[in-house]
């Protein structure tokens, strides 16, 4: 396509600059958090950083009270951080939150629909406020989520309520979905429906999802990136494959009277006698070779699930802080 105007001139600089910044907003990071801090009397969020690119799904995990919801509230502009920078879809937050929120679909556990109104009323209400509302998609979601539009909100079960909230957010076709614990309390079938829908959304490379969850299996399954927070600090924020790849359990057999050599990155050792099980978060094939050189036999090297890593990581960091 030619960018020239009918009389053959290039478009004015101002227009080109605007087009460039629109492109940057579309291809630049969707979420950027740097050095974010927030103090409460009994809780402190420290140096929180994360990046999410277009087309990516980020799973945000951490124990209860670790700071997941606080972080999400900060990036939604509901809470002003004491320090640090927050940009969402290229807009500084909280200053330009209104512009950002036009393209964000947000669902949290605490949100409630109007009890006496029907789902259909809610759909019309959201449609009237967001020009991007896709009525055809909304209809399809009603079917997929097995929801009835004439039902009043107060008659919805917990699972139906969650799915209704998701429907209202999804049918706006936002560029970013921010979901705070969307799977909590859903039965396996409903979770399956929701996961499928989320994965369908990111077949579009321009759409992104951030979701926090306790359900590590869901996070492991659909996330491209994982951010792990514990007691107000981000322990890890990296791509999922790299993250999982670094963790391994090694089953070792030691020669009689042999001692296990100490290696950096080993965060847990189980068993005594001749059989030891070593957990590491810095695995390379070299580690196995090093144990073999020290006289141990490596009987098995196991991958770990995100759930196992989650527990090992939190336990290790607690042990450290007690020491």
């Amino acid at each position: 396509m030619s960018e020239r105007t009918p009389n053959g001139d290039s478009p004015p600089l101002r227009e080109r600059a605007a087009a460039a910044s629109a492109r940057a907003a579309e291809h630049g990071p969707v979420i950027e958090l740097d050095g974010v801090e927030k103090s409460y009397p009994y809780f402190r969020l420290q140096d929180v950083r994360m990046r999410l690119a277009p087309g990516e799904v980020m799973g945000f995990i951490g124990p209860n009270g670790a700071g997941k919801s606080t972080t999400i509230r900060i990036l939604m502009g509901f809470v002003r951080p004491d320090r640090g920078e927050v940009r969402v879809l290229g807009h500084p937050i909280p200053a330009a939150q209104a512009a950002a929120k036009r393209h964000i679909g947000y669902v949290s556990e605490e949100m409630r629909l109007f009890g006496q109104a029907t789902l259909e009323w809610h759909m019309r209400f959201v449609a009237s406020s967001y020009p991007g509302w896709d009525a055809g998609y909304a209809k399809m979601l009603l079917r997929r989520f097995d929801l009835r539009p004439e039902q009043t909100a107060r008659r919805l079960s917990h699972g139906q309520h969650v799915k209704a909230m998701l429907l209202l957010a999804l049918a706006r076709r936002p560029r970013l979905l921010v979901l705070d614990e969307p799977m909590t309390g859903l039965d396996p079938v409903a979770r399956h429906e929701v996961l499928s829908e989320l994965m369908d959304i990111v077949t579009d490379e321009g759409r992104s999802i951030l979701f926090s969850s306790h359900h590590t299996q869901d996070v492991e399954q659909i996330s491209d990136r994982i951010t792990f927070i514990d007691r107000g600090r981000v322990i890890e924020s990296s791509d999922k494959e790299t993250f999982l790849e670094r963790w391994r359990r090694l089953h070792l057999e030691l020669p009689a009277g042999g001692a296990l050599p100490v290696h950096p990155g080993v965060i847990d050792v189980r068993g005594g006698g001749r059989l030891s099980i070593v957990t590491t978060n810095a695995f390379t094939p070299e580690l196995g070779a090093a144990y073999e050189r020290a006289g141990a036999r490596v009987r098995e090297i196991q991958h770990m699930t995100l759930e196992e890593i989650f527990v090992a990581e939190v336990m290790a960091s607690r042990k450290e802080s007690l020491a």
Partner: protein
């Protein structure tokens, strides 16, 4: 597309390895012949409900092995190699033999015993298939 691949949560291996193995098997079995176009990364991800990065990793690994080729902007295809299906089956055989030899070593079996056991098993299967 209705998925032909399935991720098992009871399988101890990482998801990208499960994908690699199932794709290799499709090719080895001849279901996906040379030149067959694989689903795009995002379509397969949505279909199997695994992350895009996991499918990407599986495809990269298969490319490195020469099992598939990716043409920029065109998609990924099963490689043209002579007898790719057979080669993949040979590879699987090698892996199983290595695992058997490893176990025999742990059990302290000598190579003659292992040979005899393999012959027995082979005869058993030949009889069943006849």
């Amino acid at each position: 597309m209705n998925s032909e691949l399935v991720i098992s949560q009871a399988d101890g291996r990482p998801m990208y390895l499960q994908l690699i193995e199932q794709i290799r098997r499709r090719i080895a079995a001849g279901d996906w012949p040379a030149g067959y176009e694989l689903p795009s990364i995002r379509v397969l991800a949505a279909d199997v409900r695994v992350s895009v990065i996991t499918v990407k990793r599986a495809y990269l690994e298969l490319e490195r092995e020469g099992v598939i080729v990716t043409r920029q902007g065109k998609g990924s295809f099963v490689a043209d190699g002579e007898d790719l299906g057979r080669r993949l089956q040979q590879r699987e055989l090698e892996q199983h033999l290595a695992a058997a030899a490893e176990l025999a070593y742990t059990l302290g079996l000598d190579v003659e015993t292992l040979e005899a056991r393999l012959r027995e098993t082979h005869e058993h299967i030949a009889k069943r298939r006849a």
